[in-house]
């Protein structure tokens, strides 16, 4: 996967390159809109990360320009502002996504994966998910662990499904809130944690290997190994 990162802050460039390369992306970096434009024309990228606050041109104008030039790759917009304006909303409806700074790396990677998935025609959704001895029947909305049926509420099932789809990867609290409850909020209470504890109580029976693991400061991960 080839990725173009358009970001002027060197500090952010540095750690993003590091973690993106670690995640398997081949990263090109442009520090301004001009460089980004020439790079995007000369090469074919699978995905772009564009910061809105560029020194020479604002990010939205750059994206619109690239679209005019025929660059069709999905874009993840990085914004320092929380209230997104209508132009960002427009791009979001057009298939792009945005992320507010500061962000968790896990969320950045998840959003990139989502954008790439959207661009690839899916070969039929699976009806079953399997992580180790945990199995989810998506049609019957039923979860079993080592053959034992788990008594889950519909919401807990959605939460577990989200964890399973991201098995082995970190999901943050805000990702869970966004995907399971459809809200971009940052509660300063432990609301998400309580849901996870409850789910863990049902999934990880006595004597079984704990599947749902808390990574402090980052989020949660459903172990797949």
């Amino acid at each position: 996967m080839r990725l173009l990162l358009v970001e002027d802050e060197e500090d952010i460039q540095g750690f993003l390159r590091h973690s993106l390369e670690e995640a398997g992306y081949e990263v090109d970096i442009a520090a301004d809109a001009k460089t980004a434009e020439s790079l995007a024309i000369e090469n074919v990228f699978d995905i772009l990360i564009v910061d809105l606050g560029l020194p020479d041109l604002d990010g939205i104008s750059l994206i619109l320009r690239l679209r005019q030039l025929g660059v069709g790759a999905p874009v993840l917009i990085l914004s320092a502002r929380r209230s997104v304006d209508d132009r960002v909303r427009g791009l979001e409806q057009g298939g792009d996504d945005y992320l507010t700074k500061p962000f968790a790396l896990a969320e950045l990677l998840a959003r990139l994966r989502n954008l790439l998935k959207r661009n690839i025609p899916s070969a039929g959704e699976p009806t079953r998910l399997k992580v180790l001895d945990l199995e989810l029947d998506l049609l019957r909305r039923e979860a079993t662990r080592s053959g034992r049926v788990l008594q889950l509420s519909p919401q807990e099932f959605v939460l577990l499904e989200y964890l399973c789809r991201n098995a082995g990867r970190v999901v943050t609290r805000s990702m869970i809130l966004d995907h399971v409850w459809g809200m971009r909020i940052e509660p300063d209470t432990n609301v998400v944690d309580v849901h996870i504890y409850r789910l863990r109580g049902k999934v990880d029976g006595e004597g079984q290997q704990p599947l749902i693991k808390t990574l402090r400061g980052m989020g949660y991960v459903l172990k797949d190994r």
């Binding site: 802050e9 973690s19 320092a80 500061p102 940052e186 309580v194």
Partner: protein
């Protein structure tokens, strides 16, 4: 131009102004006409009087010169007859013996000596005697049997007899009546025309003012790009529009400046936060052992700082009426249900009970992300401050065309010191662990949506927070 406001035309300012203007015009023209009419009437009378005086002199001459023989009556009668043909203002020239003019000569004894005119002259003589006609100038005389008065001149003749010449005022009255009739018709047409013109122009002008008012009221907190409509004319209304627009320019530019400041502040603070957080995360994934604890707590501190920064900027922008909203339709009922589903486990973990009493679907048009955060804030507040065993009741009702979200609990309520200032920034209870932005943020969001928040302590004990937000237009119609 349409009366979209639904106000009857009769109550519009244009209607009042045109009524007043038309009334003034009608009275003015009527006054002018009255003077004109009087002038014309006097002039007509002067002319008929001049004619009467002239004719009666001629008749006297004829009467004096004509020998008093058998032909006397015929000659004088003929002259009188001729004179009647030259009556001024005579409209009809019919040959029939008319009653326009009469000639009467009385003898020394006062009896009729000679009569020319309609009838036998007895009634006329009677009327003349009764009215005591003055000799030197013509007088009005009403004769019984004739509706219209006569103008009568009299002159003594040498032989002791007296000549009376009467001219009916019918023709001059007809002239005046015609004048009046024509005036009234023309006056009515003019008055209507004036009313129409005044009404049309004032309505046009006022509709421009109304358009300005409508546009100005549409220019809300978040939409400052629009301007009120201007016209090319150089009148007061155009001036008003220009002045308003200039004022809006100034407001927009200061708003823009505020946005630039908050944006650059946000950018300048968020960029290093992003970099620090990223680096901490990378080191967290590479380092094992005891050091992770300090990194984790650093990340958590950083997230708290970010949250504080976000809320501070939101509250600052909202206080300055500068929150940028991107509105969509939200069902508050649905939102509350999923919010409760999210918070319920944490609440029951803490021994709290949460109840929803909702009127069913209730839609508002609002910025979804802000409303989500606002409700989360309210719930967080309850979760943090209520002691175990308390109950939170959430009511969703439609109140005065506003969606009212009422949170009530049976906890300790607000501390007396906090209550007065609880919507101000950095105000929090002594026990509170938050950064004191919660309710300020809630109020900021409500205000940005033209709503309001009230907070009080219930009589039974516990807090009562009420957030009201305007409902979606379709909801208000229901």
């Amino acid at each position: 131009m349409s009366s979209k406001t639904g106000k009857p035309i009769m109550r519009s300012a244009a209607w009042r102004i045109s009524l007043l203007a038309t009334l003034a015009f009608a009275c003015g023209t009527m006054l002018v006409f009255v003077f004109l009419h009087r002038f014309v009437a006097e002039d007509i009378q002067r002319r008929s009087d001049a004619w009467l005086s002239g004719e009666i002199d001629v008749l006297r001459d004829v009467a004096e010169r004509t020998p008093k023989d058998a032909l006397y009556g015929a000659v004088v009668g003929e002259v009188a007859e001729l004179a009647s043909k030259e009556v001024p203002y005579k409209i009809r020239s019919d040959d029939s013996p008319n009653d326009t003019v009469f000639f009467l000569q009385t003898g020394e004894d006062g009896a009729i000596k000679l009569w020319v005119g309609a009838g036998n002259g007895e009634v006329n003589l009677k009327a003349i005697k009764a009215a005591k006609i003055l000799p030197d100038r013509p007088n009005d005389l009403s004769v019984s049997g004739f509706g219209i008065p006569y103008r009568v001149a009299s002159i003594p003749v040498d032989d002791g007899s007296r000549i009376y010449l009467g001219l009916s005022e019918r023709d001059q009255m007809r002239v005046l009546r015609n004048l009046r009739l024509r005036f009234v018709v023309m006056w009515l047409v003019l008055v209507l025309l004036v009313f129409g013109i005044v009404f049309y122009t004032t309505r046009r002008m006022l509709s421009h003012v109304r358009r300005i008012t409508e546009a100005a009221s549409r220019i809300g907190r978040s939409d400052l790009n629009t301007r009120v409509p201007t016209s090319k004319k150089n009148d007061e209304v155009a001036h008003l529009a220009l002045t308003l627009n200039r004022m809006l320019d100034r407001i927009e530019s200061s708003m823009h400046q505020l946005h630039t400041i908050t944006d650059s502040l946000a950018h300048d603070l968020r960029s290093p936060l992003t970099a620090i957080r990223g680096k901490l995360e990378i080191s967290l994934s590479t380092i094992q052992g005891e050091q992770t604890e300090s990194i984790v707590s650093a990340i958590e501190e950083l997230d708290r700082l970010t949250d504080f920064l976000n809320k501070s900027l939101d509250v600052a922008e909202a206080k300055a009426d500068a929150l940028r909203l991107s509105r969509s339709e939200i069902d508050l009922n649905e939102l509350l249900l999923s919010m409760i589903a999210l918070y319920e486990p944490s609440m029951s973990e803490k021994g709290l009970e949460i109840k929803l009493r909702s009127r069913g679907p209730l839609k508002i048009v609002a910025d979804a992300s802000l409303i989500h955060r606002m409700i989360a804030n309210l719930f967080d507040n309850e979760l943090k401050h209520l002691p175990a065993g308390s109950t939170v009741t959430i009511n969703l009702v439609l109140k005065d065309e506003m969606a009212a979200l009422i949170l009530e609990d049976d906890g300790p309520g607000f501390a007396p010191g906090v209550r007065l200032h609880m919507f101000e920034r950095r105000v929090k209870g002594k026990e509170s662990k938050g950064h004191g932005l919660g309710l300020a943020f809630v109020e900021a969001v409500a205000c940005a949506h033209d709503g309001e928040v009230t907070a009080s302590n219930r009589q039974e004990g516990g807090a009562h927070i009420e957030v009201s937000l305007p409902v979606a237009p379709a909801e208000a119609i229901k």
